[in-house]
Symmetry: C2
Subunit: 255 residues, 2 copies
């Protein structure tokens, strides 16, 4: 229970490893407090900075989180939103409320979308490419933040060609029953196909703030293209809290 100077691992690493072992073995359970910094300084006989660094390693792994004035706690597993292909089914759309909303409410959690921006912006390069327009050409964007319970879950941007959303509720605060896809279909764009692309990375400080991310939590960037028979009708990008989503895709063996 003390630092071994012959160990090739640094002191802070030895302390971090010992604490991690306490956590993964279940001796300190999620929600429980770690020994206080001063306690750990006594235990290991190092400077307080060394203990702080050890705890910093565990924070960066997403294992613990500090609450100032209170202590360092083992993080609880968050509620996970399971995302799969069925969320776009026409039948769910017909049922009115958005699939994600129904899912959250079934789990006893509230669900809401907060509209952050609504209007025309210059098309980013990747959006322009998909719509075969020039970068900077005007596109209509719906930018919103989704909440599940009292936590922001994702920052989502939907881009449309202006002529496609002209006169539809997609330009309004509320898109109405069935959401934007229902409105697109009403406007004659029969939805036939989706393409989703996923990446992960650490968040920017701005994203940390906006999604209230704990330290050591990555984000997923999802980009989606929604195709009607005529071509892409919706281009979507979302930054999602990496610890609150799981993605499932199922497909037949291709020839």
């Amino acid at each position: 229970m003390s630092i071994d100077p012959t160990d090739p691992r640094s002191s802070s690493r030895q302390i971090a490893d010992a604490l991690r072992e306490e956590i993964v073995s279940g001796r300190i359970v999620p929600g429980e407090r770690l020994p206080s910094e001063s306690r750990l300084v006594e235990t290991y006989g190092t400077a307080s900075q060394t203990v702080k660094q050890a705890i910093g390693l565990l924070k960066a792994e997403g294992l613990v989180e500090g609450r100032k004035g209170s202590g360092v706690y083992v993080r609880q597993a968050p509620v996970i939103t399971r995302v799969d292909m069925s969320r776009f089914s026409r039948s769910k759309r017909a049922a009115g409320r958005a699939a994600q909303q129904a899912e959250a409410e079934a789990a006893g959690l509230s669900w809401k979308q907060e509209v952050l921006h609504l209007g025309e912006v210059p098309a980013p390069a990747w959006v322009a490419e998909l719509y075969a327009i020039a970068e900077g050409d005007p596109v209509f964007v719906r930018r919103r933040r989704e909440w599940v319970g009292d936590q922001p879950n994702q920052l989502a941007d939907s881009y449309y060609r202006p002529e496609v959303v002209e006169g539809t509720a997609i330009q309004e605060l509320k898109t109405g029953p069935g959401g934007s896809l229902a409105r697109l279909e009403e406007a004659g764009h029969r939805i036939v196909r989706f393409r989703e692309q996923l990446r992960t990375r650490m968040p920017s400080p701005e994203e940390v703030r906006s999604l209230r991310l704990a330290e050591g939590v990555p984000v997923v960037r999802m980009r989606r293209v929604t195709f009607a028979e005529s071509g892409p009708v919706e281009v979507f990008e979302s930054i999602m809290a990496g610890d609150r989503f799981e993605f499932t895709y199922e497909f037949d063996a291709p020839e």
Copy 2:
């Protein structure tokens, strides 16, 4: 170009934000060195620890990496492996070499798999559930590490029911042309469907070592079930370097 004590941001945060701005604006390009710590101490008039902490923030974001004895450098964008559903196509399998290998070599990079373990192990709970056997029942596992160029890319485990792989090359170091799926089909298990599940999180220290991950790089955990008509014939789990993969799925609009 100095610390503003009236700014609500901490000193280290102000320094980190200033350096990040230099990076995202392109004034310091990928591969280039940040000003040295002592230089930054002069510039900002803080203690060296404060500069170290600022740089620590940028490391945790995956923006920069330290090379000891040399400096702190802006990270280069790594080579990205694009993973999509076509990698399982029967025609590619028939062509012999694994799809990922062909892709890497087309990009001028070597590709190899290093077999880490081969043999029976007690089934983890999630594997047992998929195979409808008891946790701890024996399953045959192929554990390997995949390299693209000189970098390890993923740690992959494939689990099989022992009677399925009995007498096949799946039990050997080399599974032969077309890989394990080709062998399963030869053994009469016609592959009909796949289900993939993705999550992201920060890596354990063990994973950092094994995948040679830089600080601030998350991992993706992919789980896959491969179905024959009779049911699951391969259960797969991979820990993938989050900065070296992009996942694409395409599917028809479900009813």
